[in-house]
């Protein structure tokens, strides 16, 4: 994308050094996940980035340990978790009814509801709503849905500047970067890098960083506070997502730690919230479960510092105009899949990222979407499909160790869905695409693997043939190479190959027991060490 960050004189905050230079210096492109390489290639590069690996290791291990402590405090965690999963499942089963109930409640409370089938439609709706206010700048609450649809880029194309106000999102935006974590989008940055980004880039977006900024956390937070305060006070339009929407009352809920979100939700005249349709819960009381599950799983807090709730509009308090954009963008397709639909329970806590050994080493960018880590590996191929090389590689971005499932507060069986989606990649099969049932073709590039799997299965289904192969391998064992050619190199580049034993178990059994199924001590056990 091109030259999109224009400076708009009429809305330019005072006391800044933005001036004429800023538009050009603020980066001529909007960072995007488009055209990223498949997961293995991206991860190959990140595993060699020692700084990145150290940052991620430190951050994920710290939060992982804290979460475990916070969860262990509750005796009824497993029951809370089951309740969370059950509420979400029931809601999803009757999603159409709850969404209509929500629409009526929001409308009755003075809000306006818009339905967006996909990212383009949602971006168009939001752009038009902002245009109608006459404003050219908006402040944003941290939101996964708007990252998913690439809203900032779409607004920039329309000449509207969106300011991220979450501290970590601000770091990402100033660095012309992409988020790499759901909760901590700048987790891949350390303090020194953040100081450099603030010093270099803040002046292009508004109030510059203080002279001689250090990398002390308090100093960095103060620099961000001063920079953002200006944005809050000038903003006429706020854009948010939501963690939950209550169907019975039409209430939206945003959960956060910094209070910056609350500024954006209360100070502007117009508030536009873009929310995935799966975020609805039936009743206010259901929040009791999720407001315990979410903070402990995500920030390891007993209760999150700021929980903002709003219901439509209120006279003389908060935004006077409220728009809710309900986003589908692949969610009803996901709902149509009886295994994959579990992914729609997700409350975006990021616990699965923090325990994932693959995420820790590959980093968030390798997942090529706003949703990294285990949840990204199951959600992105469902929302976007499995046809691109990147999307088809995501279900394989896991060793299936199950650590994600173990911590997930709504018990999403992520390994089960990963394998289910692998099947879709290599075998194709029935799926819902843009609301229509269809049979999708296997993704490209798996023909050789499919042939090998078929041959292996055939051999395994004929144990006599298997035995012939084993004997051949035993007889030629002295000639086995230490490194394999071709695809086998992926194994032998970093690991020694095992020595093939002189005889297989089958042959040993045959020789010592004659297939009788009985016998005393195993005779002729070969010492192989």
């Amino acid at each position: 994308m091109s030259g999109t960050h224009q400076v708009h004189g009429d809305q330019q905050p005072s006391g800044t050094q933005r001036g004429a230079q800023s538009g050009a210096q603020r980066g001529t492109h909007q960072a995007t996940y488009l055209g990223m390489p498949a997961f293995p290639q991206a991860a190959d590069a990140s595993t060699r980035n020692t700084q990145l690996r150290a940052n991620l290791r430190h951050a994920t291990h710290t939060i992982r340990a804290k979460r475990a402590t916070a969860v262990a405090e509750l005796d009824d965690w497993s029951r809370l978790r089951a309740a969370g999963a059950a509420i979400k499942d029931r809601t999803l089963r009757h999603l159409d009814q709850y969404l209509e109930q929500l629409e009526s409640a929001v409308t009755a409370a003075g809000g306006q509801v818009h339905w967006a089938a996909d990212a383009d439609e949602a971006n168009r709706i939001v752009t038009e709503l902002v245009r109608a206010t006459g404003e050219r700048e908006v402040v944003k609450v941290k939101s996964m849905a708007t990252q998913e649809i690439g809203l900032n880029g779409a607004l920039a194309t329309a000449g509207i500047t969106a300011y991220e106000t979450d501290l970590a999102e601000l770091i990402v935006q100033l660095g012309d970067d992409l988020p790499s974590h759901i909760l901590v989008p700048a987790i891949h940055r350390n303090r020194g890098e953040i100081r450099d980004i603030f010093t270099e880039k803040m002046s292009q977006w508004g109030r510059p960083a203080p002279e001689g900024l250090t990398d002390a956390p308090a100093d960095l937070a103060e620099a961000a506070r001063l920079h953002l305060r200006e944005k809050f006070l000038n903003a006429k339009v706020g854009i948010s997502g939501a963690n939950f929407m209550v169907a019975e009352t039409g209430t939206l809920v945003v959960v956060e730690s910094e209070g910056n979100g609350r500024m954006c939700l209360t100070l502007p005249e117009t508030l536009i919230s873009v929310v995935g349709i799966e975020k609805v819960v039936p009743t206010f009381q259901d929040l009791e479960v999720f407001l315990q599950l979410l903070p402990r799983s995500s920030t390891a807090e007993r209760m999150n510092p700021y929980t903002s709730t709003w219901t439509g509009t209120t006279d003389a308090d908060g935004p006077r105009t409220f728009h809710l954009v309900l986003l589908d963008n692949g969610r009803t397709d996901t709902l149509a899949d009886t295994v994959g639909r579990q992914a729609l329970r997700c409350i975006r806590c990021s616990a699965c990222l923090n325990v994932c050994p693959v995420y820790e080493r590959a980093g968030g960018h390798a997942y090529g979407s706003a949703y990294p880590g285990p949840i990204g590996a199951i959600l992105t191929p469902q929302l976007r499909g499995t046809q691109s090389e990147l999307d088809a590689s995501l279900p394989y971005a896991s060793s299936l160790c199950g650590a994600c499932y173990e911590v997930c507060p709504v018990a999403i069986d992520i390994p089960e869905i990963l394998v289910h989606l692998r099947e879709r990649v290599v075998e194709g099969g029935p799926a819902s695409v843009r609301g229509t049932r269809t049979v999708i073709k296997p993704a490209k590039g798996h023909a050789a693997e499919r042939a090998a799997m078929r041959a292996a299965r055939w051999a395994l289904d004929h144990p006599r043939l298997l035995r012939t192969g084993q004997r051949l391998a035993s007889r030629t064992r002295r000639f086995h190479p230490r490194r394999l050619p071709g695809p086998g190199r992926a194994w032998s580049d970093t690991r020694e190959l095992p020595k093939v034993p002189e005889e297989s178990f089958r042959d040993w059994w045959q020789r010592t027991r004659g297939g009788s199924g009985t016998g005393s001590r195993p005779e002729g056990r070969k010492k192989t060490t």
């Binding site: 293995p40 060699r48 199950g402 692998r422 290599v426 690991r495 297989s504 059994w509």
Partner: protein, 250 residues
């Protein structure tokens, strides 16, 4: 008690010692072990790579091969988990595809009789002291499928704790995956190798002579990485430790 050994394809081909150890151990405990030769692979590599339909003949073969037995014991947490967790899913999917109950019935037959070795010892035979002797310093890596799918809990440790002469040392970050993951080790070789390297370094740092697991497929990766790093730590399957006695240390 009609007990069969499910050796698994990896042990059959590359680690026959482990199978021999299971036979030795169970016979010492007075259990007569059978080995139906019609058995093959549980199908995990195919299934976990996405080839569910290619896996179906192997599910049927498993059910048929062990039809005459009450218990099927396997020295692999991950193959036991494949049978227990994934066979029923395969059956349900086949039924949903309009192919009847045949596969679901085969799965239902296979699941309740399948035991991972430590489950069979502690839950069925109800022993933790199997009379083993193993005069070595050992560290224990709980492999993921045993830990999180089968939920083996304390079983392996309580068995190890009862082994005479054995000095068990704690493995830092024990519950982190070693990075094997079947075809993951090749498809995502860089990440797999990075995970394996961290695991191997942690293992070597314990000062143990051997690293014990319940899965030789993970050992293939762990042992191969240890050897490439020049570490002297040997991989050993729990069955081999439990089979050892004062007169015959494996």
């Amino acid at each position: 008690m009609r007990v069969a050994l499910f050796i698994t394809c990896v042990n059959d081909t590359l680690y026959p010692r482990t199978g021999q150890a299971v036979v030795t151990l169970l016979e010492r405990l007075g259990v007569k072990v059978g080995f139906p030769e019609a058995q093959s692979c549980c199908g995990q590599p195919q299934f976990n790579t996405g080839y569910r339909h290619e896996t179906e003949p192997l599910l049927r073969r498993y059910a048929t091969a062990f039809r005459d037995y009450e218990y099927v014991v396997t020295p692999s947490g991950s193959c036991a988990a494949m049978v227990r967790d994934n066979y029923p899913r395969m059956g349900a999917k086949a039924a949903a595809e309009g192919r009847g109950q045949e596969l679901a019935d085969a799965a239902a037959e296979a699941v309740p009789k399948t035991y991972e070795l430590t489950e069979f010892l502690t839950d069925v035979l109800k022993v933790t002291d199997v009379g083993a002797y193993y005069p070595h310093t050992v560290t224990y890596h709980p492999t993921c499928h045993g830990l999180r799918m089968l939920k083996l809990g304390d079983r392996p440790r309580s068995l190890l704790a009862a082994v005479k002469g054995l000095n068990l040392v704690e493995l830092p970050g024990a519950e982190e995956c070693c990075g094997f993951g079947g075809t993951f080790a090749v498809k995502n070789a860089a990440v797999s190798a990075a995970m394996g390297a961290d695991k191997a370094r942690n293992i070597t740092a314990t000062g143990a002579e051997a690293v014990c697991t319940l899965d030789n497929s993970c050992q293939l990766h762990i042992g191969g990485t240890l050897a490439r790093q020049g570490s002297a730590v040997r991989p050993v399957h729990l069955a081999e430790i439990l089979a050892s006695t004062e007169g015959d240390v494996w």
